[in-house]
Subunit: 318 residues, 2 copies
């Protein structure tokens, strides 16, 4: 057994995959689960990866944060739409001074954890992976998998020793982890993909592949990317313009993959509209940068989200 103890809050495509890779490598991993808890307790995790499948048995499953032991690193792998629950979930596993690693999409997603445990104990990670939960306790990792890790409070190109240690643990678990001095720059780079492809896949009811194949949506995605790139630089995160083309090229070569926002929409779950679009828009505005197309996409998504919620509420009333 390796020495670092990990808590994993959330058993979706991200928490399930990385938690299982850590457990497989011999780390002491404690999962806080909801709907999958009973299934995973009985049958363990089943993980399919491009390099082979594996199972994890005798999993430490918790249904309440109260039973979790103090952890060295508590991984937040909930949807950002559930971050309001963190005030109840984080105090337990972080009670002995452990750190929090926020593996979520979007910008400013570490703020909630930072308010609870203190900014200096918070790290963030940007995951570049195609992974789906295909059933209870069943993860299918399709492609990619890199995590870029950064301190929430980063100071002039320096990386904390704790961050380097966590990165080292992840690498030992076979995860393609790297640490970066500027977490925000990594998050903005990821937004260059997330904003157009999550947003348009919902508004245009299309897969990533369909969006790449049509000249209209390709140009539209590109124009959104340019706005995000310009906003990132206006906000002090230096990103090369080349990232836009590279992101498009990677997307073209990607396995057919539905964005998480599209899956959420199709499955009538809340979409991460605020983390992925609202927060970047507000940050850009504060830095004097305008993103008219991104803002339009944001409003289109809010309209669709509220329409879906009204329709769900109406069908419950029937």
């Amino acid at each position: 057994m390796r020495t670092t103890r990990f808590g994993v809050i959330g058993g979706g495509a991200v928490g399930g995959l990385y938690g299982c890779l850590l457990a497989k490598a011999g780390f002491d991993v404690h999962f806080l689960l909801r709907s999958d808890a009973e299934h995973v307790r009985r049958h363990g995790w089943k993980v399919e990866t491009p390099s082979g499948d594996f199972e994890i048995r005798d999993v430490n499953v918790h249904v309440s944060a109260d039973t979790m032991p103090p952890c060295d690193v508590t991984v937040v792998a909930l949807k950002t739409t559930q971050n309001c629950m963190l005030q109840d979930l984080l105090p337990g596993p972080t009670s002995q001074g452990g750190r929090v690693l926020v593996l979520q999409n979007g910008l400013d997603v570490e703020n909630d954890a930072a308010e609870i445990v203190g900014a200096e104990r918070v790290m963030g990670g940007c995951c570049f992976l195609c992974s789906n939960k295909v059933g209870p306790g069943h993860i299918r990792h399709l492609d990619h998998g890199r995590i870029l890790l950064g301190d929430y409070c980063h100071a002039q190109e320096k990386v904390s020793g704790q961050l380097a240690a966590v990165c080292d643990d992840l690498v030992q678990a076979g995860i393609d982890a790297k640490f970066v001095a500027d977490l925000n720059a990594a998050r903005w780079k990821k937004l260059i993909w997330n904003i157009p492809f999550n947003g348009l896949s919902v508004v245009l009811n299309a897969s990533t592949q369909q969006l790449m194949e049509s000249q209209d949506s390709y140009e539209l995605a590109r124009s959104l990317m340019i706005e995000v790139y310009q906003a990132a630089n206006a906000c002090g995160s230096t990103i090369s313009e080349q990232v836009i083309q590279t992101t498009l090229d990677v997307t073209r070569d990607m396995v057919p993959y539905d964005s998480s926002m599209r899956l959420d929409y199709l499955n009538q779950r809340p979409m991460e509209i605020e983390a992925i679009l609202g927060s970047p828009i507000r940050r850009a505005q504060a830095c004097g940068s305008d993103m008219p197309r991104v803002e339009m996409l944001y409003r289109e998504l809010l309209f669709l989200d509220r329409k879906a919620k009204r329709s769900q509420a109406a069908s419950k009333d029937d």
Copy 2:
């Protein structure tokens, strides 16, 4: 019988309504129809209006432009997506020097007629009406009805005598017609409604009422209107900013009404994307004015249009 002879090309919600009002007032009206020809020949037109219903019997119905007599005014009331047919349809009824009145949505929609009969013989009209064709030969006029008429070649605030005469005929038929010196300004004013409410109703799959009731789509519509207003002024059509709020207020008080583009999309007909969005975008670009949100809406519509066409083609192949 009044003296002016009208040809009406197209028997939809616009051509049907105005053609019938002219016929009711005693003008000699010749309709060029396609799908409704046999029905109208046998049963005449049925028109419902807010001020009472009426029928027109013994209609002059043509299925080919070759049988149409020379007309004083040939009204083009086709969808702009069918303008390629005008080269076959206009020469007959305009053979004795008659004029053409283009009652279509969008910008630069008179160009096709002007190429065929000469710019000086072309007039345009902007219709502000809620009217639907609800069945063969059956028009339901719901609300509004004003036509703003203008010469295609307008010269410094002057209106041609022919335009004034046509306007007079329309007024005698009980139509709320007015002539304006700047047709383009009228068209831009109408685009302030058409661009947001036609476009968003398709992309967000929503009625005008739903778009007005949600704060997100209301703000989105308003931001699109501001772009159109700014482009109009950049292109030399002086429009007051007050038009934006007035248009929103009128829309709020409008009867529940589906935009023509939404009806076209839902009924798998081609949408007037080029006339309503493409032409204004190109005109604005030529005048150095950028409409990023309108351009985004344009690309979203093109994507949806092509997806629908592919899906129709695929279902035909089955």
